[in-house]
Symmetry: none
Subunit: 200 residues, 4 copies
Amino acid sequence: MASEKARANPRAPQQKRGRERVAALMASASMLFVEKGFEATTMTEIAARAGAAIGTLYLFFPTKEALANAILAENAEALSAELDALQEQAKGLAPAAIADTLFDLLGRFLATHPAYSALLDLPGDEGWRRRMRARRREQIAALFAQAQPPLPAGQAERLAAIVPQLMPIPLALVGEKRLRDGVLEELRLMLARHLQTGGD
Amino acid sequence: MASEKARANPRAPQQKRGRERVAALMASASMLFVEKGFEATTMTEIAARAGAAIGTLYLFFPTKEALANAILAENAEALSAELDALQEQAKGLAPAAIADTLFDLLGRFLATHPAYSALLDLPGDEGWRRRMRARRREQIAALFAQAQPPLPAGQAERLAAIVPQLMPIPLALVGEKRLRDGVLEELRLMLARHLQTGGD
Amino acid sequence: MASEKARANPRAPQQKRGRERVAALMASASMLFVEKGFEATTMTEIAARAGAAIGTLYLFFPTKEALANAILAENAEALSAELDALQEQAKGLAPAAIADTLFDLLGRFLATHPAYSALLDLPGDEGWRRRMRARRREQIAALFAQAQPPLPAGQAERLAAIVPQLMPIPLALVGEKRLRDGVLEELRLMLARHLQTGGD
Amino acid sequence: MASEKARANPRAPQQKRGRERVAALMASASMLFVEKGFEATTMTEIAARAGAAIGTLYLFFPTKEALANAILAENAEALSAELDALQEQAKGLAPAAIADTLFDLLGRFLATHPAYSALLDLPGDEGWRRRMRARRREQIAALFAQAQPPLPAGQAERLAAIVPQLMPIPLALVGEKRLRDGVLEELRLMLARHLQTGGD
DNA sequence: CATGAATGAGTTTTCATTCAT
DNA sequence: GATGAATGAAAACTCATTCAT
């Protein structure tokens, strides 16, 4: 199902105009994927919301799946870069402090890359996505591995599996601002205490 | 969008044979919804896996959406009943003990009702599903509200929003048994500590 | 298209109970054919409105088409009988008087056999229905042929083609009682004058 | 029942090519609706006869009902325009002359718009069609209202209800050219005499 | 690069008809 | 005779994808 074609990168547009086009198309697709889900979103709809013709969309993305993959890849790349940038600062920080910083980073990231979670959790094609999740886990684990005092063996990896899944929880509470903010704080606090207490 | 039709209950079958049919169809649909997602699953496929003809499926469920709704409704009903049964036992328990019991219950529930999360989180139709989530939150909050010592104001509701979203986290780690079990324990521990520490 | 099967008579029921069943089914079908048209009416619906099971309907009518044919045949038979009964009385009547009597007869007939026109005009299968219309025309022509003074050659047949199509005109004006009655009188008057004037 | 969707106008095609496409599709549909009736006609068949793919048909008409409505609307519009054009000429004409002209107009119209009667008389959805018939009646009544000498009160409206229903009578006599022509003349004569005689 | 009309395979849905009870 | 669950062929409708302009 995940053909060669589908994973092909968008034909890198040479002109600035082209690059803007592509960005607009990806943004449009991201919004719609979040609103209605990947399957329920139409290619025509994506093009329309970006103010482009359907043919133009296919000019850059050979397949609907390729489009989703391109968005996910870009998002993952961005996240990866931000996590990398954190590695330096994390050196020697307390576990709770790392968790807190990570929380902020993820919060900001998800706000700017709304389709990320939805696209990463698409049912079906295990494989590529699985590798993406693994990579993310490794980066976060590396972050926690630098904590002072060090975390018990294995906890860094477990936290790396947990923390990115915590962030979407408050985000799901649309339309209940109060509760949502409360939940976010509760999660932050819960994690901090857990890490302060020590890992035995 | 959520039409009358789509919410119509399955034509309650009178005969035992019929009830078995319906159960098989819902089970088949649940499996496929988990495997490939709601949209990617075909009514034909659902019927085929249940060993029934396509017409038979439509005999009981007028719409694909109605089928999903019926499954979700049944699952939610089952969960609600189990949560209700817990109310008694929870009286006077320590917060951490309640959390632990809830963890077990949810773990067992999700194992037996695999489509529940996927169906509850379907994109699109706000409304019915939103109310379902709210009801679940209320029931869980009621559980935590009985804790001794009592939880700080509002924490019961926040926990009620958090805990059911925690359970699917380890479940997502398919094919990594070790990590998965570790993550489950980590979550359990994190929650226990948080509740033991007190809520200020 | 009009298979043997479809033209088969309903398996004549031996018991009185059976005859009532059949009558109820045909009545139910007639109503629905008028309300929603032949194609848009479902066999299930027909059975349901008659308070019978779908299987029972098929016990008497092997096919939906056979059911329609049975109703039409019965209606046509009834009309034919009534027209026959008129032949005697028409002998020697003035043309206008004959037209008037015919008008009354057709009015009463259509009120009691509402599906007749719809079923006779069903698109598709020319042949059987064409013959039915021809037979009706002949009977009515025979009626007019007895008029005193005699009608010009050929007019009896032309009138026979026209008069039965005139009756449904006021009937189409549902919900406008006043206009409807007026139209009926207008038609009657128009026809009378035409016949009084003489046929040159 | 008559949803938004069903009444949606065909996506007005911008190119000449598109307009031709739409015209061909509507013509194909009209033919088939007449031949086999609305319900018995298949969208696939309509597309095929127009030499188009099924998707192309749905490109312009979102629904089979929408297609029928579009054809009917266009036909009604054409008839309305022709009736309007007649208003001028009718001024001061004798009633019988008006009837005669109207007869000609309707005859020509029905020959060019064969699906008109069938679509206007579709069972089911009262409402839109009822209004269409009312409008037609008003236009024809306005025509008769200009007659010199004037018609008795109310007769114009009654004639407006009658005349358009008279025209299809000869048309139903397919395959009997002689009788058909005779019937047409008979009707014309009948109407003329009725109007010459005066309306008391 | 850009466009959007056209395509047709694939889905959902309907319903006449059958048949075991 | 009576029942109604079950069937599956056929129809309506969708949408990713192509291609001539």
